[in-house]
C-alpha cells in the first residue's frame, strides 16, 4: 500500500490542478456564449460596435481557452497517474462518460476555435458566427458531461460491482444520475453567472474611468451582464438550496460538515467556527440564532441543524474545508444577489450607467463568480471525503503505486508552474483591459487609444 504522505500529496495535487483548471472554464464558457451572441448580432445588424465587442472579449477568451485546454489535459491523465486504482475501478463507467465529453465537446471546441479566432477575412462573418456557436455549444456540452461524471462519484447509480470494478448496468441511470439532475443546472448557471460578473466588472471599470473609445462597448456589455445576472441569480439561489437539500439526504455528512456543527443542538447559522476534529467540538463559534433553522425551511426557527457527530468518525469529512468552502460560496452568492437586485432597481429607475458608487462596487465584483465556484467545488469534493466514489470506494484505497518522492516532485512542479501561470494570466487580463478595445476608425483625429478622456 502506498504511504500516507504520497496520499496526502496526491490529494493536494488533485485539488491544486482541479481548482486551477476550473477557474478557466468559469470564465470561458460564459464568454463563448457572449461571443457567439455578439457575432450573430453583428452579422444581422452590421453595427461595428458588436465587432468591437467581439474582438475585445476574444483577446481574453483566446488565451483563457488555450490555457484551460492544456490545464484540462492534465486532468485527463491525472486520474490514471495518481489514482490508478480508482481509474481501474471506475474506467468502465465514468471513463466512458468523459470519453463522450472528449468526442462530442472537446473536439467540437477544438475543431472550430481556429476558425472562430483566426477566420476573419478568410471566411464569411456568417461562418464566424456559426463557428462561435459551435465553440459555445462545445463548452456547454463539456460542462454537461463533466458534471455527469462527477455527480456519479457523488451518488453512484446504474452499476454493478465485479471484482473491485464498477460495471455499467443502465446507462441512462449512470449518465442522468440523481445528483446530476440537481448539480448540473446549478453549475450551468454558475459558469454563466461568473462570466457575467467578469464582463460586468470590466465594463464598469471603463465607465468609472470614462474611457472614451470604450464607453459604448462598456454600456452595451454592462447592460447584457446585469440583465443576465438579475434573471439568473434568484434561480441560482433556489437551485443551490435544492442541491443542499438533496445532499442532506444523500450525503448527510457533507451538510453536517459545511454547516459547522458537531452536536445537533444549534438552530443558529454559523458565521465562523474553529473546529477541533479530535475532540469533536468547536473551539470557537460565531452564530446567528435561529437563522440556521430558517434557512433550513423551518420558519419557527427551532429546528436544529444536524451535527457531524451523527456520522461515525471514520466517515467524517474535514469540517474546515467544507465549512469555509461553503461560506466562500454562500457569502459571495448573497453579495451577488444583492448586487444583481440593486442593478435591477437602478435599471428600473433608469440610472444603470451613471451611479458611480454602484459601478465602483461592480469592479470589485469582477472575480466574484470564480470565487464562488471555487468555494462550491471545495465543498463538493472535500465534503464527499473520505470517499472518492461515495459510499463505495475510499480515497485511501484509490491511490496508484507511487513513491512519496514522485508525488512530492510533481506537486512542487505543478504549484510552481501554476503560480507563475496564474500571475502571467492575471497580468495579461489587466493589461488587455487597460489597453482597451480597438478604437473605431472615425476617431483618427482623437487621442490615441489608451489615453483617457478627462473625467468629469
Amino acid at each position: 500500500m502506498a504511504s500516507p504522505a504520497a496520499l496526502e500529496l496526491s490529494r493536494w495535487q488533485f485539488a491544486v490542478t482541479a481548482i486551477f483548471h476550473m477557474s478557466f472554464p468559469a470564465l470561458t464558457v460564459g464568454l463563448s456564449v457572449l461571443l457567439a451572441v455578439v457575432q450573430t448580432v453583428y452579422v444581422r445588424t452590421g453595427n461595428p460596435l458588436y465587432q468591437q465587442i467581439f474582438r475585445f472579449w476574444k483577446k481574453i477568451f483566446a488565451v483563457g481557452f488555450g490555457l484551460g485546454v492544456v490545464a484540462g489535459t492534465v486532468m485527463t491523465f491525472e486520474f490514471g497517474l495518481n489514482w490508478g486504482v480508482f481509474a481501474h475501478a471506475v474506467g468502465p463507467v465514468i471513463g466512458v462518460t468523459i470519453g463522450m465529453e472528449v468526442i462530442t465537446a472537446f473536439f467540437l471546441e477544438a475543431g472550430f476555435i481556429g476558425v472562430m479566432l483566426y477566420g476573419e477575412g478568410r471566411v464569411k462573418p456568417r461562418t464566424m458566427a456559426l463557428a462561435s456557436w459551435m465553440v459555445a455549444i462545445g463548452t456547454l456540452l463539456s460542462t454537461t458531461w463533466i458534471l455527469s461524471a462527477n455527480s456519479w462519484m457523488q451518488d453512484p447509480a446504474g452499476y454493478t460491482e465485479t471484482a473491485g470494478q464498477f460495471h455499467p448496468s443502465d446507462w441512462t441511470e449512470v449518465l442522468l444520475n440523481p445528483a446530476f439532475t440537481y448539480r448540473f443546472p446549478h453549475m450551468l448557471l454558475a459558469v454563466l453567472i461568473s462570466a457575467s460578473w467578469f464582463v460586468g466588472g470590466i465594463s464598469a471599470w471603463y465607465l468609472v474611468k470614462q474611457r472614451r473609445a470604450a464607453l459604448p462597448l462598456a454600456r452595451r456589455c454592462l447592460s447584457i451582464a446585469l440583465g443576465v445576472l438579475a434573471v439568473l441569480m434568484p434561480v441560482q439561489l433556489y437551485l443551490g438550496d435544492a442541491t443542499a437539500v438533496f445532499m442532506a439526504e444523500h450525503q448527510p455528512a457533507k451538510l453536517q460538515a459545511f454547516e459547522g456543527n458537531w452536536r445537533t443542538d444549534n438552530n443558529g447559522y454559523n458565521l465562523l467556527v474553529v473546529p477541533d476534529t479530535d475532540r469533536g467540538e468547536n473551539d470557537l463559534r460565531v452564530t446567528v440564532p435561529h437563522l440556521g433553522a430558517v434557512i433550513g425551511h423551518d420558519l419557527t426557527g427551532r429546528a436544529e441543524v444536524p451535527g457531524l457527530l451523527q456520522t461515525p468518525p471514520d466517515q467524517r469529512p474535514n469540517m474546515w474545508s467544507a465549512f469555509y468552502g461553503f461560506r466562500a460560496m454562500y457569502v459571495t452568492a448573497l453579495a451577488m444577489f444583492a448586487t444583481a437586485f440593486t442593478g435591477l432597481v437602478l435599471r428600473l429607475r433608469g440610472r444603470l450607467f451613471d451611479s458611480r458608487r454602484f459601478l465602483r462596487w461592480l469592479v470589485w465584483m469582477t472575480p466574484a463568480g470564480v470565487l464562488a465556484i471555487t468555494g462550491g467545488w471545495i465543498t463538493a469534493e472535500t465534503g464527499r471525503q473520505p470517499w472518492v466514489v461515495y459510499g463505495k470506494l475510499r480515497t485511501t484505497d484509490a491511490l496508484s503505486h507511487l513513491t512519496t518522492a514522485e508525488a512530492a516532485a510533481s506537486l512542487a512542479a505543478f504549484v510552481l508552474l501554476y503560480s507563475a501561470l496564474l500571475a502571467v494570466w492575471v497580468r495579461y487580463i489587466v493589461r488587455t483591459v487597460k489597453a482597451g478595445p480597438e478604437a473605431p476608425s472615425d476617431t483618427a483625429a482623437q487621442p490615441a487609444p489608451g489615453t483617457e478622456a478627462p473625467v468629469a
Partner: protein, 424 residues
C-alpha cells in the same frame, strides 16, 4: 472481439495524434533554429490547429481509460515522471504559444519557451513510449514497479528517435505551408532528417526484437505478412517524401511522411498485438466489460464522421500557403443623434433613506424567497416568487435595453467623441 474495436479506436486516436501533433511539435522545435522575429511566424503557422491536434492525445488517453482501464492504470503510474514532464511541457508550450500570439510584437521569451517546450514534450513522449515498450512490471492489475523503471537505454533512444521524426514532419509541413526562407530551410533539412529517421527506425525496431524475442511470433504467417507489408509501405512512403523534398507540388513530402508514420505504427501493432503493455498485459485482460466498450465504440464511431468533417473544414479554411492576415480596421461607431445623456441629479434627504430602507427589506425578502425559505409552508410559494422576480428582471432588461438602444445610449456621445467638450 470487441476489445479489438476498442484497440482500433485507441490506435486511431494515437495515429491521428502522431500525424497531427507530430508536425506542430516539429514546427515548434524548428522555430528554435529560426532567427529572431521569424520565430513568431512559426507559432502563427500552427496557431489555428494546435488545439485540435492535441485533442487526439486526450481522446487516446480517455479511450484507454474507458475501454482498456487495465492499460491506463498500469501505464500512467508506471511512467509517472515522464508523463508529468509531458503535461508540464504541454502547459508551458501552450503558455508560450498563447502569450506570444497575444502580444503585439515579437517576444523572445515566449517564442523560446514555445520552442523549448515543444522539444520537451517530444522527449517526454519518447521516454513514455520507450518506457512502455521496454516493459512495465505489473501486480494485480496495476503497476507494481519502481519510480525509474521507465529509464532504459531503449527509452532514451526512443526519445531521440521521436525528436528526429517530429522534426522531419515539421520540415515537410513547412515546405507545404510556407514560401521563401522558411521553405528553403525546411527543404534543406528534409533529406538529412529523413535519413536520420530511417536510421532511428532501424535501430529501434531491431532493439525491440532483442528486448523480448519469444513474444514476437513471426512464425505466424498473417502476422508476418502484415508486419512486412507495413514495413514495405513505410519504405515506399519514405521514398516518396525523399523525392518530394525541394520539388513541387509542395504537399508531397508531408503526405509521404504521414503515410510512413501510419505504416510504422501499424508495423509496431502487427508485431506486438494482442500484448498492449509488454511483457504480458494483453488486450483481453485489460479491457472494460462489453457494455462499456460497446457504448464507447458505437458513440465514438457515430461521432467520428462528423468530427472528421469539421476538422477537414477547418483544414480547408486555412488551406494553401500561410499568409498573415491583419484584421480589417473597425468601422466607425454610431454617434448619438440626440444630445448627451445627462445624469439626472439625485435628490437627497429622507425620501432616499426611506426608499433605500424599503428596498433593503424587499431585497432580503426576495433572497429568502429565492432560497426556498417558505418551502416548509407551501412548496409553490417560492418557485412562484422566483418566477415573478426573474420574469420582472427579464421584462425590465428587455424594455430597458430597447429604450436605451433607441435613446442612443449604446452609441458614441458627441460630448464623449470630443474630449474638449467632454469634461462637463
Amino acid at each position: 472481439m470487441l476489445e479489438y474495436a476498442t484497440y482500433a479506436l485507441v490506435l486511431l486516436a494515437l495515429g491521428m495524434y502522431v500525424v497531427l501533433d507530430g508536425y506542430d511539435l516539429g514546427v515548434g522545435m524548428l522555430s528554435l533554429f529560426a532567427r529572431g522575429e521569424r520565430r513568431r511566424e512559426y507559432g502563427e503557422l500552427i496557431a489555428t490547429a494546435w488545439d485540435a491536434n492535441e485533442s487526439w492525445l486526450v481522446l487516446a488517453g480517455v479511450a484507454l481509460w474507458a475501454g482498456l482501464p487495465g492499460v491506463y492504470a498500469t501505464v500512467l503510474p508506471g511512467v509517472y515522471l515522464p508523463v508529468i514532464g509531458l503535461l508540464l511541457a504541454v502547459i508551458l508550450r501552450g503558455m508560450g504559444l498563447e502569450f506570444q500570439s497575444a502580444a503585439a510584437g515579437y517576444r523572445r521569451g515566449w517564442a523560446l519557451l514555445f520552442g523549448a517546450a515543444s522539444l520537451a514534450v517530444t522527449l517526454c513522449q519518447g521516454l513514455v513510449l520507450g518506457g512502455v515498450l521496454s516493459g512495465l512490471r505489473q501486480q494485480g492489475g496495476s503497476f507494481g514497479g519502481g519510480a525509474f523503471d521507465w529509464l532504459t537505454p531503449y527509452s532514451v533512444l526512443c526519445a531521440l528517435g521521436l525528436v528526429v521524426l517530429y522534426l522531419l514532419a515539421g520540415a515537410a509541413w513547412l515546405q507545404d505551408k510556407t514560401e521563401g526562407t522558411a521553405r528553403e530551410r525546411a527543404v534543406r533539412a528534409g533529406r538529412p532528417l529523413l535519413a536520420g529517421t530511417a536510421v532511428a527506425a532501424l535501430v529501434l525496431a531491431s532493439d525491440l526484437e532483442d528486448a523480448d524475442p519469444q513474444r514476437f511470433g513471426f512464425g505466424e504467417p498473417v502476422r508476418a505478412a502484415l508486419y512486412w507489408s507495413a514495413v514495405a509501405g513505410a519504405v515506399i512512403a519514405g521514398a516518396v517524401a525523399w523525392h518530394g523534398f525541394g520539388r513541387r507540388p509542395d504537399w508531397r513530402p508531408f503526405a509521404g511522411v504521414v503515410a510512413a508514420q501510419v505504416c510504422g505504427l501499424l508495423a509496431l501493432v502487427a508485431a506486438t498485438a494482442p500484448v498492449v503493455v509488454p511483457p504480458g498485459l494483453t488486450l483481453h485482460q485489460a479491457s472494460s466489460p462489453p457494455g462499456s466498450q460497446a457504448f464507447l465504440v458505437v458513440v465514438v464511431g457515430l461521432c467520428m464522421p462528423v468530427v472528421f468533417a469539421y476538422n477537414a473544414y477547418a483544414w480547408w479554411a486555412f488551406r494553401g500557403k500561410f499568409t498573415p492576415l491583419p484584421e480589417a480596421p473597425l468601422g466607425p461607431l454610431r454617434v448619438r443623434a440626440a444630445g448627451p445623456v445627462r445624469a439626472r441629479p439625485e435628490r437627497g434627504g429622507l425620501v432616499v433613506l426611506v426608499r433605500r430602507a424599503l428596498l433593503t427589506v424587499l431585497g432580503v425578502g426576495l433572497a429568502a424567497v429565492s432560497q426556498d425559505v417558505f418551502g416548509g409552508v407551501a412548496t409553490w410559494i417560492d418557485p412562484v416568487g422566483i418566477a415573478l422576480l426573474s420574469g420582472t428582471a427579464l421584462a425590465a432588461w428587455i424594455a430597458g435595453d430597447r429604450r436605451d438602444h433607441r435613446a442612443g445610449v449604446f452609441d458614441l456621445d458627441r460630448a464623449e467623441a470630443d474630449p474638449a467638450r467632454g469634461g462637463a
